[in-house]
Amino acid sequence: MTPQHTLLDYSSKARVQNVMLPQLARLVRVIPMVQDNYLFLFRFEDPHLNETFVYKPGQFVELTIIGTGEAPISISSTPTRKGVLEMCVRRMGRVTNALYNLPENSFVGIRGPYGNGYPVEDMKGHDVLIVAGGLGMAPLRSLLNYILDNRNQFGRLILMYGTKTPDDVLFRDELESLTRRGDLECLLAVEQAYQYPGAHPWRGKIGLVTDLFQYAKNIDVPNTIAAICGPPIFYKFVLEKLLKMNFSKDHILMSLERRMECGVGKCGHCAIGYKYTCIDGPIFTYWDVINMPELIEF
């Protein structure tokens, strides 16, 4: 270890790569998915970076919209498919609004990846249960595709995804096509299946996401890792269900949201006790969550 508080220590730290400086990237395509939830595809201007930008499912980037500012956005693509970064973004605040108004082929800035991401190495060999509610599918889609691309390294794979209506289902075409696969139990539910003229008929279940548990028989609980993401009310009921099934609290992975301004554990905004959502999270086990007051509000 370099001795602390010496000139050598300071000058070596003054020479590091500047983590606050974004890399130039280009918005290559916008794919509308559902109302105010589009998929945005980016490529770095430096072609080399498209190959070397390594990330884990569940990590996020700080996205700069030139002329507006910066916001943390989770990555929806999988690191197993290099070249294009996909982000499912909800039109929510100042920066995301500016992104929606940005013409394709515009420049943006990207720095990262940040956060711990899902512990995919530790999850290997386990069964994986992915439970998503509403927009919670955005970070979980990265995990889902990562597992599908490394299918032999994981055990049984179950996806449960619930939204209000079929019009709210993120990645609907992609997920519906996955229902054909024999090595994935892809269970989709909506609370109400609207039928209006021309609507794409709903072939999934009707009900709440928690109702989908009845279709996944004989889950080997001690050997299963649950990755869950959704709105507060979703957490309340899904956690209740998982705990009833005797899931260990550190086998439940949750993805949390806070105001992550710097992304590198310095600015303080996302701190909860001694944990920083941006570096210690955004993926926490339920055990972490219990031990961090004010971490989640149900």
Partner: protein, 340 residues
């Protein structure tokens, strides 16, 4: 450890000679009860009697507001580090403020390294100065009343001279250059130092027992003390601004009027400000004042301790002196400890 003696008769010469190593900044008197670290124009300006400046030395390394990069000149983000080559000699830091910088070294140097902070840290020589505590100093309880490192030179005041402790290679270079001003220490000097040191020890009136404070805070999370404090605190953020270890910042962009050029700014922030934990969509994770006040106290004496093994408080007394509603950090913790 090399320790020399600087007779007080040579002090002004010593201070003037420091100009050879950079722009000399000293504590200066600003008004009846306030002091500031500012550039020295004349050695006579040095306020050797000062105990605490309003703004701590962090301002030299972590700027109150700075542009960190700009864009609009071609397709690049252009790094910008203010004062990247400016050499400064910062004279007169008391041990608590040196510890404050050591804590910031941890914050900005752990995990992702903050280049801006260290680009300036490497260019500033630190010359420490001993002190006598007042009724607001509780550095002794924080273990920050003395320091063995974190300075290039440290001056301990005796009656007619200063003991000069050499703390770094650059400090050694200075004492070699100025050897005509310096002498050897004697047994008499050591005895004089011990006498002053023991007198100083007796002068500490304010104490805060932090032995099991994180555990007590864990038990007292729902204490009414926080609600009472939330009613008294204005959430003005003064305590954060004057704190030698508070390092939260905001990041935002400033644009030219034609929106073609811009710069990214980072600026001191406070966890007490209302919008500190607001996320897109408007949800505020700490909407109540009591929650925000508690968060600050827990960060200093619980979170940081868990993470780095010591509190992020130096006992400098600034937050006590500058709180507009007379909130007293030691009294708050004593209440929490049930030691009112």
């Amino acid at each position: 450890m090399k320790i020399l003696k600087l007779p007080k008769a040579n002090f002004q010469k010593f201070l003037l000679s420091l100009k050879n190593y950079g722009e000399v900044h000293i504590p200066k008197k600003k008004s009846e009860e306030s002091y500031v670290f500012a550039p020295m124009e004349d050695p006579s300006e040095v306020a050797l009697e000062y105990l605490r400046t309003i703004i701590p030395p962090k301002k030299y390394f972590f700027k109150p507001k700075e542009s960190i990069f700009h864009y609009g000149d071609g397709n690049h983000f252009n790094e910008h580090i203010e004062d990247i080559d400016k050499k400064i000699v910062l004279f007169g830091l008391h041990p608590c403020d040196i510890h404050g910088l050591k804590i910031l070294d941890i914050v900005f140097g752990t995990g992702y390294i903050d280049k801006y902070y260290f680009a300036r840290r490497r260019n500033v020589l630190i010359i420490g100065l001993s002190c006598m505590p007042d009724e607001r100093c509780f550095c002794r309880s924080m273990g920050t009343d003395a320091t063995e490192d974190g300075f290039d030179l440290f001056l301990s005041e005796l009656k007619n001279s200063y003991l000069v402790t050499v703390g770094s290679s650059q400090g050694d270079d200075i004492t070699n250059d100025l050897k005509d001003l310096l002498g050897e220490i004697t047994k008499k000097d050591t005895n004089e130092y011990l006498k002053i040191r023991n007198e100083r020890k007796k002068r500490f009136k304010l104490q805060l027992d932090i032995s099991d404070l994180p555990y007590i805070l864990e038990l007292q999370r729902e204490s009414e003390v926080w609600d009472d404090l939330g009613k008294k605190c204005l959430c003005c953020g003064s305590c954060s601004m004057v704190c030698p270890t508070c390092s939260c910042f905001n990041v935002y962009d400033n644009l030219s009027l034609d929106t073609k050029k811009g710069e990214r700014i980072r600026q001191w922030d406070s966890c007490l400000f209302k919008d500190y934990a607001v996320v897109a969509g408007g949800h505020n994770f700490r909407a109540n004042r009591a929650d925000r006040v508690r968060n600050r106290y827990y960060h200093k004496q619980h979170g940081f301790v868990t993470q780095f093994g010591k509190p992020s408080c130096t006992g400098c007394g600034r937050c006590i002196q500058y709180c507009p509603t007379q909130i007293h950090v030691v009294e708050v913790f004593n209440k929490i400890r049930g030691e009112e």
